[in-house]
């Protein structure tokens, strides 16, 4: 029994010993983990400090070297000797004693003056108090007291002034005795400072505590501790290019305009700002955290949170380019997206399509648009042959009752007209917008259909009417009305229908076939089901576009775009939609269950998630998928505080209750007709292919505008046009310029004025600014001929010819200046030389920092460059 007891107590002792050891180890481990394991930022901060120390030390040593090399050290030693000498000279009996005595005297006076000032402040305070009571109560005793206090103030003030006066002569004597001692002292201090500052930086760096650092942004509910590891993010010089020690890229743009103390980090970058224990957690790459950190090209999606207008926004170039895709494919046609309201339809109006195209073509197009031309924007709906025919029947039934094809093989074209049409085709520069056989056109911005096979698609009558007045068939089309005569149009039609034909075109219905009513009904149902009316206007589809909420109110017929029911999901907050609301369907297990993966997959294969989905396939390239996904990811419920928001111009106008800019009078008619804003931007309206014309009246000479409009010729050597139009590759002729609209040959509708007159008048009345002076400053001390000669010298000295040509000499980056004296107004040149970016933000020309005189000289020289008219 005793033995048993002994055994059991021994057992207990072992047991106890064992768990003590375990406890000890665990405690040690807990302490270690708490100190280091859970605080990786400590390690980063230490390493950063040591790196920064090395960097600063290096800078200090370099500064020291430089100090010696530049003679700073020698000068310092000299000065010290001088100071010693001067001071020891002072120590001589008479002067030295007097110097010290005077200094003491001055000190005493200064003390008195300080006391005086303090007294003055107290009495003034009392005065103000009394004044307050007096104005409140209007009691005369306060007034009396005020007068007494005022007297006191005056006397104290006088005493102070007297004290200052007394100090003056003493100061002067001291300065006389001291001689150059103060100057030497100041210089020594300055020389010391050069190195001291660097030394201080090192000391400050070494002293900096290791601690959690954070940006606390209350109104967005963020506590971003990212800077605990990314410790040097705000520094101007990074000690290492390794993460997390780097500085923020392009600090001047991103941090310069978004102080991290006010914006934090995760508002733009996402991720998990409060997490500090592991890199994965902080960057949000963990389960149940929806907001993974944005990286690479995705980061700029954040700009969309606050900026209403990202076009030309510095730092948002990538996302700005990506948003073009939303417009190109017309996502807003089926989905509600804020900021994309009221943009015209992406597809043409289809009410009269039966009078335009061949039936067989329409069916094939519905089956697969890209089969007709590879750059087609219309997506594939995966219709069966029956479905495609039903839809075509419905569309054709709006303007007729038959399936009908033109027998293109037997269409007769006059060879003479064809020849003339060919010349017109190239003179009018049709290829600028329309591609044919891989030449010309640009589908990234100005989208005009490829015309390589158009001769087999449309009939000649329609083509004639179309070219004669595009607005008549499709109001709001981008196709301009060229000022051709009927004979010229006939020539173009014959050329197009003989040149651009599709050898494989089907024409099953050369003998027309009656359309069945059942098929029309089926087609109409399909059009409603798939929402064709989102992109195409068509008669009879207005009814289905009424939003349910409005239907409940008894509204049955609407035309206003804004009230239309969109067929697709609203996308205004797709970028912050909770993942559990996204339907991954049968792909739940095969793709990562996060928002970005969902968006990308939806874009790649819209109907892949499950049966019954209706979104068509746009057959985007993987690059386009990524670009578009970046934009969609930026449509968020960001709940940004008002202080973050940068509304677009439109929104600002709306808030201010101002109508956005609208063209007025006859000029509006010219714009609607010639579609200048397809390429030019005027007062914020239009595209940026061609020069912005908002200030054209202050920039261009009238005679030049007239000549150019009548006969547009090249001004700029295509630096801007070429890459944007995508013409630098392929066989496109090297010279591209404005299409020839044959302006000036016809009057503007309902008026007696020529379109050129209207344009010139509008330019001069409306498109002007007082920023550009009518006259440039004059230089009076030099004769004009001499000024011109000096301007020429400047032109040569600054190397202007590396970018501009005079005659054939010089580079071709900027415009040829041989005729600039006939083209531009002197005030514009003068202002342009001051800051060219003001007129064109992405201009290649750098700012030279010319003085006003230099600008006048250059302007006077440039204005003499003229080519006389033949």
């Amino acid at each position: 029994m005793a033995n048993e007891n002994k055994n059991s107590s021994a057992y207990r002792a072992y047991f106890f010993a064992f768990f003590s050891v375990v406890l000890l180890i665990l405690s040690a481990w807990v302490i270690w983990d708490d100190e280091f394991g859970l605080r990786p930022w400590k390690h980063y901060q230490k390493e950063y400090k040591s790196l920064k120390h090395d960097q600063l030390e290096k800078e200090y040593k370099q500064a020291q070297l430089e100090f010696h090399r530049s003679g700073g050290a020698k000068r310092l030693a000299d000065l010290k000797v001088q100071l010693e000498k001067a001071e020891s000279a002072l120590k001589g009996k008479g002067a030295g004693e007097k110097y010290e005595q005077l200094n003491r005297q001055l000190e005493g006076l200064q003390k008195q003056a300080a006391a005086n000032q303090k007294q003055l402040q107290t009495v003034r305070g009392k005065y103000l108090e009394t004044e307050y009571y007096f104005t409140k109560t209007q009691k005369p005793e306060y007034k009396k007291e005020m007068d007494a206090l005022q007297l006191q103030i005056d006397s104290i003030d006088n005493q102070g002034k007297a004290l200052q006066v007394k100090q003056e002569p003493i100061r002067e004597t001291i300065a006389q005795i001291a001689g150059n001692i103060p100057a030497i002292k100041a210089e020594i201090e300055q020389l010391n400072k050069m190195l001291e500052e660097k030394k201080e930086k090192i000391a400050n760096n070494d002293k900096a505590p290791i601690e959690i650092k954070q940006f606390l942004i209350k109104d967005v509910d963020k506590a971003d501790r990212c800077v605990s590891c990314h410790i040097g993010i705000e520094s101007s010089k990074q000690p290492s290019a390794r993460q997390p020690y780097t500085k923020h890229p392009l600090t001047s743009v991103y941090l310069g305009h978004h102080d991290p103390g006010k914006f934090g980090c995760t508002f733009c970058h996402r991720g998990q700002g409060r997490a500090t224990t592991t890199v994965e957690k902080a960057h949000g790459k963990v389960k149940y955290w929806d907001e993974a950190m944005l990286k690479g090209d995705m980061t700029q999606t954040a700009c969309l949170n606050c900026h209403g207008d990202i076009k030309n926004l510095r730092g948002a170039e990538t996302i700005s380019k990506n948003t073009e895709l939303v417009k190109k494919y017309g996502c807003y046609s089926c989905h509600k997206i804020p900021g994309y309201e009221g943009i015209g339809d992406v597809g043409p109006e289809l009410t009269q399509v039966g009078t335009k195209v061949n039936y067989s073509w329409a069916v094939n197009w519905l089956l697969d648009p890209k089969k007709y031309f590879s750059t087609a924007r219309m997506p594939k709906f995966f219709f069966t042959q029956d479905q495609a025919e039903a839809i075509a029947d419905y569309l054709f039934s709006m303007s007729g009752s038959e399936r009908r094809d033109v027998d293109h093989a037997n269409v007769k074209n006059d060879p003479k007209l064809v020849e003339q049409g060919k010349a017109l085709w190239s003179q009018a520069r049709c290829n600028l917008c329309h591609a044919t056989g891989g030449r010309g056109g640009d589908h990234s911005k100005v989208y005009a259909p490829d015309l390589s096979k158009v001769g087999s698609k449309v009939n000649k009558t329609w083509l004639f009417n179309w070219i004669k007045d595009p607005n008549k068939y499709f109001p709001g089309t981008k196709m301009p009305r060229f000022r051709f005569t009927d004979q010229e149009i006939n020539a173009l039609v014959d050329y197009i229908s003989s040149e651009y034909v599709d050898e494989d075109a089907e024409s099953k219905y050369v003998a027309p076939v009656q359309i069945q009513a059942a098929s029309i009904k089926k087609g109409k149902d399909l059009v409603q089901q798939y929402g064709c009316y989102g992109c195409h206007k068509m008669r009879g589809m207005e009814m289905v576009q009424v939003a349910p909420s409005l239907k409940a109110q008894g509204v049955t017929f609407l035309r206003s775009d804004e009230m239309r029911e969109k067929i697709g999901t609203e996308l205004s907050s797709i970028g912050s939609k909770p993942v559990e609301l996204l339907d991954f369907g049968k792909l739940k297990k095969s793709i990562p269950n996060d928002r970005l993966s969902y968006i990308k997959q939806k874009l790649r294969d819209p109907r892949g998630f499950r049966l019954g989905l209706r979104m068509p396939n746009f057959r985007l390239s993987e690059t386009e998928v990524n670009e578009l996904a970046a934009v969609l990811y930026g449509f968020t419920d960001s709940n940004a505080p008002v202080r973050f928001m940068v509304p677009s111009r439109q929104e600002l106008d709306k808030m201010a209750g101002v109508q956005g800019y609208k063209f007025t009078g006859d000029f509006a008619k010219v714009i609607a007709d010639v579609k200048c804003t397809n390429c030019h931007s005027i007062k914020g309206i239009g595209a940026d292919y061609a020069p912005d014309l908002s200030l054209a009246g202050s920039k261009l000479q009238e005679s030049w505008i007239r000549n150019f409009l009548a006969n547009p010729d090249m001004i700029r050597p295509l630096l801007q046009q070429m890459p944007k139009l995508g013409l630098s590759m392929g066989k496109m002729p090297a010279k591209v310029t404005m299409p020839k609209f044959n302006l000036g040959k016809q009057k503007v509708e309902d008026t007696n004025r020529s379109d050129v007159d209207v344009v010139v008048n509008y330019f001069q009345q409306e498109l002007v600014t007082s920023d550009i002076p009518k006259k440039i400053p004059e230089i009076n001390d030099v004769a004009m001929t001499e000024q011109i000669a000096q301007g020429k010298m400047l032109y040569d000295a600054k190397g202007c010819r590396s970018c501009h040509q005079l005659g054939t000499d010089g580079g071709a980056v900027g415009p040829n200046l041989s005729n600039v004296g006939n083209r531009l107004l002197p005030g514009f040149i003068f202002k342009h030389l001051e800051n060219s970016r003001k007129f064109k933000p992405d201009i290649v020309e750098p700012n030279y920092g010319f003085t006003e005189r230099e600008r006048v000289l250059l302007t006077n020289f440039l204005m003499t460059l003229k080519i006389s008219a033949k």
Binding site: V21, G799, V813, Y848
Partner: protein, 149 residues
């Protein structure tokens, strides 16, 4: 025999905290999970590295092709198509390794900021210091270095 015992003791010691951890709801065997995903991660990282160049380089590329490529060529070899054929000297060739070795980052920065004339060369390359911020020039220098790597 003795070593065997110590080993098993250690195993036990190691097992207890692990069990306790499991009890606490922390994820056990973290190492295992990491090892599993490491392969996939490194593949993804490699793919990312190709498409995601450092921001400085990408920004430098964007600036270079718009402002510099016109003369120095998109590929940095000095063959920009907008530089006049009659002009001398021709733009610098940044793919020339020997030349680039003679240019420090500071020298490149100086030359971009003040123009070629400021470093004692011709006046054909204009000064960009009043057009770009200093960190934009840093991006340009980083990208220009890339040509000779």
């Amino acid at each position: 025999m003795k070593t065997k015992v110590t080993i098993s003791k250690f195993a036990l010691l190691a097992a207890i905290p692990a069990l306790m951890l499991a009890g606490c709801g922390k994820q056990p065997a973290k190492g295992k999970a990491d090892a599993k995903s490491a392969g996939a991660d490194s593949l993804a990282a490699a793919a990312e590295a190709n498409t995601n160049l450092p921001f400085d380089i990408k920004e430098g590329k964007r600036l270079f092709s718009h402002y510099c490529g016109v003369c120095h060529g998109e590929s940095g070899d000095g063959s920009g198509q907008y530089y006049g054929s009659s002009l001398q000297p021709t733009p610098a060739n940044f793919t020339d390794k020997a030349f680039m070795k003679t240019m420090t980052d500071e020298a490149l920065t100086r030359s971009i900021t003040g123009g070629s004339a400021s470093v004692g060369k011709s006046n054909m390359c204009p000064p960009w210091g009043k057009t770009f911020e200093s960190d934009e020039i840093e991006c340009l220098v980083a990208y220009i270095r890339n040509f000779s790597k």
